[in-house]
């Protein structure tokens, strides 16, 4: 038997881990693009929103741009009247994200090759707000429910299995099944991404481009192709993050703000490390939940979750600017 207070702490920690996994999912998208092209993609959060909107739209058989079509032609179309099964819809949404990646490269970044990083960053801000408006125009701005069949609500199995740990007031750990699924998906995703980067020809080319554009160009690697590939992968990660967050809290504008949660994760884990994004996400998730539970709520009046991660990230920036797992800046003496 453990004291209840301790068990609640453990439960907070477990929930922190699960929340951290979701942060990590978003951070992953940033890392992919930053590593390969040096672009800090401000639009990553909006990409997750856009991906989720597209997925819901396809599943519900929504007519894209229905507002515009109705206004122009005086029609009154909203839905095709069919429902696409989740799996097929995910594939279609992925295809849309690949198309988006191609358009981003073709219409924006192809023309900005060799420009200063700050200019590339500004371009992604423009892209973010464009996509926000474009997503609204395409799918409408109402809050949507996303149900791809992931179980939700607390897992009774875990509650029952752990109830014996505490006294009569303790009913077992409450862990959302969605969070468990998200954790498993995140782990699988990371393994896939890391093996892709490490063991395939295109993955190797991707890392080569990340190290030295010019040299990559000189051995015949096509930068455009690699960048489309990277933006597609980031689109894929955004889609997964969008599904998880969308299933949790509905598909709506605030989904794009999860990008803000990913920033401290990146500062912690390093902008260039895939495992760093995961570990950083977990530290932020656990850190902010435990801090709130142990110090925030009892002593500081609560609501510390909003700033705790940033404070932690600042401390990290001062002492270890490349983050926990960021690539060491190679300096030979």
């Amino acid at each position: 038997m453990f004291p209840d207070q301790f068990l609640f702490g453990v439960e907070v920690l477990l929930n922190g881990l699960m929340a951290g996994v979701l942060y990590a999912l978003v951070a992953l998208g940033f890392v992919l693009i930053f590593k390969a092209s040096g672009i800090f993609n401000y639009a990553q959060g909006v990409m997750a929103l856009f991906a989720a909107l597209t997925l819901v739209g396809i599943m519900d058989g929504q007519v894209p741009f229905s507002h515009l079509i109705n206004a122009l032609f005086g029609t009154d179309v909203h839905h095709f009247g069919w429902h696409v099964p989740a799996f097929a819809a995910i594939l279609l949404a992925m295809a849309v994200m690949v198309g988006l990646a191609w358009m981003v490269q073709h219409f924006i970044f192809r023309h900005l090759v060799g420009q200063e990083p700050i200019i590339l960053f500004m371009a992604t801000i423009g892209l973010a707000y464009f996509m926000e408006g474009f997503g609204d125009m395409m799918w409408g701005s109402d809050i949507k429910k996303l149900d791809v069949g992931i179980p939700q609500g607390g897992s009774f199995w875990i509650e029952e299995a752990t109830a014996f740990l505490g006294g009569s007031n303790f009913y077992g750990f409450f862990i959302d099944q969605l969070d468990i699924v998200a954790a498993v998906v995140a782990v699988v995703l990371v393994i896939l991404l890391v093996s892709f980067a490490q063991y395939t020809k295109q993955g190797r080319a991707m890392r080569a481009v990340a190290d030295d554009h010019q040299a990559a160009l000189s051995v015949g690697i096509s930068l455009s192709f690699i960048w489309v590939l990277v933006w597609s992968l980031a689109g894929f990660v955004a889609l997964v993050a969008g599904i998880m967050w969308g299933a949790k809290s509905g598909v709506q504008f605030s989904l794009s703000l999860i990008a803000l949660k990913a920033l401290p994760v990146l500062m912690l884990g390093g902008f260039t490390s895939i495992p760093g994004a995961i570990v950083g996400g977990l530290i932020v998730g656990v850190g902010e939940k435990l801090f709130e539970f142990l110090i925030g709520a009892p002593f500081l009046g609560g609501a510390t979750e909003n700033w705790f991660a940033y404070m932690l990230a600042l401390v990290f920036l001062v002492f270890r600017p490349q983050g926990l797992f960021g690539e060491k800046i190679i300096e030979r003496v």
Binding site: V113, A208, D212, H213, A215, V219, G220, I221, S222
Partner: protein
Amino acid sequence: MLDDSSTNETLLEVNNIEVIYNHVILVLKGVSLSVPKGGITALLGGNGAGKTTTLKAISQLLHSERGEVTKGTIAYRGQSVSGLNPSDLVKRGVIQVMEGRHCFEHLTIEENLLTGSYTRTDGAAAVAADLEKVYAYFPRLAERRKSQAGYTSGGEQQMCAIGRALMSRPETILLDEPSMGLAPQLVEEIFGIVKDLNEKEGVSFLLAEQNTNVALRFAHYGYILESGRVVMDGPAAELRENPDVKEFYLGMSDEGRKSFRDTRSYRRRKRWLS
């Protein structure tokens, strides 16, 4: 010394090219040269003479640096290279080894070499065979195959850059300043390997080099560039004996080697400039 080993077939023909950076800076003012099959052709000259720009104009790496060829033609095997991208040229057998080595620092030596085979479509077995061949030419690389390139020495990185180019099965390598920042002994070693590759593998080289002395010992033919123009060319053996080359590039004159003190106050006779 090896003038007879090169055939008369011309691989690369650069005809009177002009290159402008950023739409305003004129760097090459009419450079012409040709690279014969099976030869080592040296492109000599001081800093800012236009050697690197010439190589990049050929390999089409100029675009990413906002440079463009505004006049003249470049043809490889009789076909114009304008409008191609670097990857097309690599597929046709022309690859550049850039100045300053440019290895992929965070990739291992072996991964670096494998990126050189990116454009190849002849299967993993052929690539693996070529990898062993590169290791045979550069035994040091075989020892360091699992090390991150960023942590290897300058000489090893230069070998890695050349080995990486070899992995594309090139016909012509544009080699930019291989001696840069290396100890004389290593320079000899690397040039020795270049000569081997030229003789045994039949790879043609266009070699940009500031180290005139070494370059003229290993090359068959040389062009001397000065501020964007070819000011002299000829078989390497003749250039070595030319009094002007001796004086300006090899630091020797009829009275023997000049000290730096003498050269400083020496007014250059531009006798070959038009």
